[in-house]
Symmetry: C2
Subunit: 349 residues, 2 copies
């Protein structure tokens, strides 16, 4: 089969790789219907994290179950399934506590030491899924083609935006600021609106993303950053800042922006993988009772809750995909996201 391999900085290639095979009894082979490029895929692509040797890449996909091992009971061949950006058993204590990203037996796509051998990356034609019963969620019946992007968003960005909002404690009447206008930030706007926020500020300088944020429920847009951005936010919210600030970038600058935009006693919900700055400044957090909650989003725990709203059209997170390409053009997909020509690119094998 064909799958994406990263060789180094700005060098991703679609290559022939071995066809995956069932190997543990509890795994499944899924034929990928749609996958995509993640903002975090851009770090190795840009060389921010080095690529020591060529390896498979991609971790978001939806597809059709082709085969299952004899121990699998929750999905069967022919099912349309959503996979989270990691695999998990959904039976260990961490999964049951709602934190399936800390599954005691789970792992990451594309790793070569996964239960039963290699677990394929998502940017390919097929994926071997360890813990199929835990990892995969089947839709009721085969979804309409128009729903594929929305379903794919449940593999990562919609669940991650939701996690930012949940972690920040967004509830009915909350005032919310979203730092970041990428796919996750835009999904965080959807999540904040869905949870009942009374006012949602999108911090964005990009006209197209501002427009989508407003369609998703943002009531305000702030283009300023740094001290000016903080001043704008404070002026909007009683001079003190917002109840909940959703940090959806992952740099030390964005975290600083988030903390300083939060009112005393408010909460930062963060989901941007920390790519810069290894520490949080404790004094300003302590002095103003600003909480910091979040982390790598346990999206598997949120699939069921969000799935019905995607299927009904109540939320449309699939709109963050503003470019669709055949898998053969995966290199162009990376380039388009790298150059910010696309918010998020959907790939079809």
């Amino acid at each position: 089969m064909r799958a994406t391999v990263i060789h180094g900085k700005r060098d991703v290639r679609l290559e022939e790789v071995a066809q995956p095979r069932l190997s543990t009894g509890g795994d499944a082979i899924v034929r990928v219907v749609a996958s995509c490029v993640c903002g975090s895929d851009l770090w190795p692509y840009r060389g921010v994290t080095p690529t020591d040797h060529p390896h498979r890449i991609g971790h978001e996909f939806v597809g059709i179950v082709e085969e299952v091992g004899p121990d699998v009971v929750t999905v069967k061949p022919g099912d349309f399934v959503i996979a989270p950006f990691y695999d998990c058993d959904m039976t260990c204590v961490n999964c049951l506590n709602g934190v399936s990203t800390s599954c005691l037996n789970g792992g990451w796509w594309g790793a070569d030491d996964r239960l039963g051998g290699f677990a394929d990356g998502g940017q390919g034609e097929f994926v071997r899924v360890p813990h199929a019963d835990g990892s995969l969620v089947a839709t009721p019946g085969k979804p309409d083609a128009s729903l594929i992007p929305g379903l794919l968003s449940l593999a990562d960005v919609m669940g991650t935006g939701h996690h930012a909002a949940v972690s920040a404690g967004v509830t009915v009447g909350s005032t919310v600021v979203v730092v970041g206008d990428g796919a996750v930030g835009l999904c965080a706007v959807i999540a904040a609106k869905r949870l009942g926020a009374s006012r949602i500020v999108s911090m964005s300088r990009h006209p197209q993303r501002q427009a989508l944020a407003r369609e998703f429920g943002a009531t305000d847009v702030v283009e300023e950053r740094g001290d000016e951005g903080v001043a704008r936010i404070k002026a909007m919210f009683d001079g003190v800042g917002a109840d909940c600030v959703l940090e959806c970038v992952g740099t030390s600058e964005s975290m600083d922006q988030a903390i300083r935009s939060t009112r005393p006693g408010g909460t930062v919900g963060y989901v941007g993988a920390p790519s810069g700055g290894s520490a949080l400044p404790i004094r300003p957090l302590f002095n103003s009772n600003i909480g910091v909650n979040g982390g790598v989003a346990p999206v598997r725990n949120y699939v069921q809750e969000l799935l019905s709203e995607v299927l009904s059209g109540a939320i449309e997170p699939g709109r963050v995909f503003d470019l669709e390409l055949p898998l053969a053009e995966v290199a162009e997909a990376y380039a388009a996201m790298d150059e910010r020509r696309a918010i998020k690119v959907l790939l079809r094998p």
Copy 2:
């Protein structure tokens, strides 16, 4: 009148100072009935924070209102009142948001730039209280002498322990670890039990404090620290750690202990003023979705909720005072706490 003045490292003296006078219309003069020494008073006492010039010290007291300004409406001469360890108006947006320590008009006892002039420290005979309507809470009638220690604890340590528990999200059935066996840590045990924790571990090496922790509701005591302490805690809680860890010390070592004792998806509630280590390590927090909430405790917002339980005897935080001295022996009070001969010392003018 007499009041305590710190001159430098291990040098506190009771001295004659000016009698406080009403000056703003909204202030009150309170005759101190009981005050105490705080763990945070030991920092300047030990020279950890330098004392550049002699200044008043002390910030926890209860007393009788002697005089009020013409604008004061909620307390009157003769009332027995509890003051929080700061003053606040309880009408600004932060106070209304439950974070009176961030009062837009409030401040700290012993500061010489406070509204209307000097605001006395608590370790003296009288205190001028700015924002008397906001800061002071009168008890219903004159309390029995036996209740004075418990009422005094609402000025700081009981409210602070409660804040740790609330910030960590302790609720019915939570598993809880308390890092710190000082007065705040012991009050945090009371708070965790009161909020319904199913299991409460006190991390303590001090037999007398262990005993009191158990009487307050601790189900377990762990003496180990560092890696061994973490291993003990994980072994007690499904191999992953506790739901809620209450950090009641304020050193980088205690925060590290707290974070590593928390299960994935769990929360550290911290109230120890950060005295060492200026930063929180974001990667382990992110990877395991461990939240960090808390800060300088807005105890004024908790007085009403806790007062009735102190008055009824349902909770007995006053038992953290294990030494009582006349104000004239304030130097000995500091020494007893410095040398850990006492958990907390109550002073009577």
